[in-house]
């Protein structure tokens, strides 16, 4: 069936609005660019700025960031998908990152991991049904003398015990 014969009662799909960087974000990216002698060096910073606004980096933002930096969308995507602290999928309101490296492994990582998983009923890479938490693994957080360690958003929590987990999560509504 050719397009001309398409039933008239079905609304034509509206073309997606092109993503426009928020003015503040654009200004922040441009300030970031001043730190470098080549503007693409601000790509990780730019993705973080966009992520701060949305909680993640939406698909449409990728070419928009590329345009400011003077690089292709594919190059921006290459960077975005390389670094795990840049989220290319929506995440919960809070992101939990549990250190699974060797020192935490030796001091009780598995018990803490199980307590978090049980408490939230999600596995790594998943978000709770209410959109509150996303659970991710992370490598050594550089606090090996205080393991097990995890981060929630930008807060690092040390010497976490499985019994602490429920109370700790309550602090992040």
């Amino acid at each position: 069936m050719s397009a001309a014969l398409a039933p008239q009662n079905i609304a034509p799909s509206t073309a997606q609005e092109p993503y426009v960087l928020h003015l503040e974000d654009r200004a922040a990216i441009e300030r970031e660019m001043l730190h470098y002698e080549d503007r693409r060096a601000a790509s990780i910073g730019a993705l973080k700025i966009v992520q701060k606004r949305h909680g993640w980096v939406p698909d449409e933002a990728i070419p928009a960031v590329g345009q400011v930096l003077g690089i292709s969308a594919a190059e921006v995507e290459g960077v975005a998908t390389f670094y795990p602290l840049i989220f290319r999928r929506p995440v919960g309101r809070h992101v939990i990152k549990v250190c699974d490296s060797v020192a935490c492994f030796l001091t009780g990582y598995e018990e803490v991991r199980d307590a978090v998983r049980k408490s939230l009923s999600v596995g790594f890479g998943e978000t709770t049904a209410d959109g509150r938490f996303t659970l991710l693994p992370i490598c050594c957080l550089g606090a090996c003398d205080k393991g097990p360690v995890l981060m929630i958003d930008e807060d690092t929590h040390f010497e976490v015990s499985p019994e602490d987990v429920a109370r700790l999560l309550e602090r992040y509504p």
Binding site: Y83, S101, V102
Partner: protein
């Protein structure tokens, strides 16, 4: 604690780090004044050479040799860069965090003095994204230093100008490799680069670049202030290596922690005197001397001096100098599996041996851990250790990854063998020879 014995940490205050005025009142920025007023750049490098400062990031490369490869003089490129590797992510390592959170001005000062030595035009502190507090404190210190004229155009009225920035990353272990760090700083995927050309010739944006670890750099102002002889004396004759070292212990010991000690103290002193030994009911099984990418050592190695050459002679590497202690309640196979899972996940995927070999090792280790290994698995692991070893891969990631694996097999082969499933007795089946295929 005093500057004479604990130069790196005597001013550390994690609760409330010194601000500019407080830092200046405790010899802060005195090394910048001294270097810029009384010393030629080459004299700073020479002093660091005399002091025998070796890199604290894990490889132990002589700092002044690294600096010495940077083109100097009128004909040198106008743009040169000093990068601080503050991407601390080697599992078991937690020393640079303390220096940056506890006395941020010291690193800023160290960057200025070291930048002066190589006549850098700019510096970047490449800080891992998770170190949120360190970023805040460094930014604040940076702003103060700038306002005071220690940074920017014509530092302290000298002809030399130097700008400094904090650059935060977005995760992954591989940017800790210096050429991957440069790619990451340029806003690219952090794949390593081929060497040569070495970064000192063509690094960041193709210009001469030096990459030094946080702890390494923090030694420089003290060397400039107190001299090479003093620095060599800090190790109190225990080692050929000079200075102090941040040593630490993690694992199930009584008092895990971090201490600035003379270079070359024994591992036993660090573990038993400072960390208080193992927790009640546990025995030491083995230990990593300096991060996940170093070979395991055994209890009988505890009396060795923790310096680069001694630990190398015992078949391992001092690495970052922070001990990870494995207790006897642990199966070595599961500990090594944890380590290899880390390396497999953190491989950048650029070269095949690393990208495919590391997950393969994890699959075998998981099978051995579950008691479902097959005959030949240990030999396959040993083969992987060779195929992923030095010279076979693009960078040092995979060779580092196989260090704990090869040493675990060497010391605990029985535990690996115990993971191989015993074949169920098979009924004997008499088989007739297969008929030849018809032509």
């Amino acid at each position: 604690m005093s500057a004479d014995t604990r130069p790196l940490t005597y001013r550390v205050d994690l609760a409330a780090p010194l601000d500019l005025r407080g830092y200046e009142s405790r010899e802060g920025y005195a090394a910048v004044r001294k270097a810029l007023k009384d010393m030629q750049p080459a004299e700073v490098t020479h002093l660091v050479k005399e002091a025998n400062l070796r890199g604290r990031g894990g490889a132990g490369f002589p700092t002044a040799v690294k600096w010495g490869l940077v083109p100097m003089g009128e004909s040198a490129p106008r743009q040169k860069y000093l990068l601080c590797n503050a991407d601390e992510m080697e599992p078991g390592t937690f020393k640079d965090r303390l220096l940056m959170e506890g006395v941020p001005h010291q690193l800023i000062e160290a960057m200025i003095v070291s930048g002066y030595a190589i006549q850098a035009s700019r510096g970047y502190i490449f800080l891992r994204g998770e170190y949120v507090l360190a970023a805040e404190r460094l930014e604040r210190a940076l702003a103060e230093a700038k306002a005071a004229g220690y940074l920017g155009a014509n530092v302290l009225g000298s002809p030399w100008s130097f700008e400094l920035f904090v650059h935060t990353g977005a995760g992954r272990y591989i940017p800790g490799e210096e050429t991957a760090l440069i790619n990451s700083l340029e806003g690219r995927r952090a794949n390593p680069r081929a060497k040569p050309p070495f970064p000192q010739i063509a690094g960041l944006w193709g210009k001469p670049t030096v990459v030094n670890n946080v702890e390494t750099l923090c030694n420089v102002p003290h060397i400039v202030l107190r001299g090479a002889e003093w620095f060599q004396g800090l190790s109190q004759g225990r080692s050929k290596d000079s200075g102090t070292k941040l040593y630490g212990v993690s694992g199930r010991v009584k008092r895990a922690g971090l201490w600035e000690l003379p270079f070359g103290v024994s591992a036993r002193e660090v573990l038993e005197e400072h960390a208080g030994g193992m927790q009640a009911g546990l025995k030491l099984k083995c230990w990593l001397p300096g991060g996940a990418s170093t070979d395991f050592l055994m209890p009988e190695h505890l009396d060795l001096a923790m310096d680069f050459d001694t630990i190398a002679k015992a078949g391992s590497r001092m690495g970052t100098g922070l001990l990870t202690v494995v207790d006897d309640s642990r199966s070595i196979v599961s500990v090594v599996k944890n380590l290899e899972e880390f390396f497999a996940r953190e491989s950048c995927g650029w070269c095949t041996p690393c990208r495919d070999g590391l997950p393969w090792s994890v699959r075998i280790l998981a099978a051995l851990e579950a008691g479902e290994g097959r005959p030949g698995d240990i030999e396959t692991l040993e083969q992987l250790c060779r195929f992923l070893g030095p010279g076979r891969t693009f960078c040092a990631h995979a060779p580092g990854a196989v260090e704990p694996l090869q040493s675990a097999i060497k010391y605990f082969r029985r535990e690996f063998e115990a993971g191989i499933a015993k074949p169920a007795p098979q009924p004997v089946i008499q088989r007739k020879p297969a008929p030849r295929a018809m032509a």
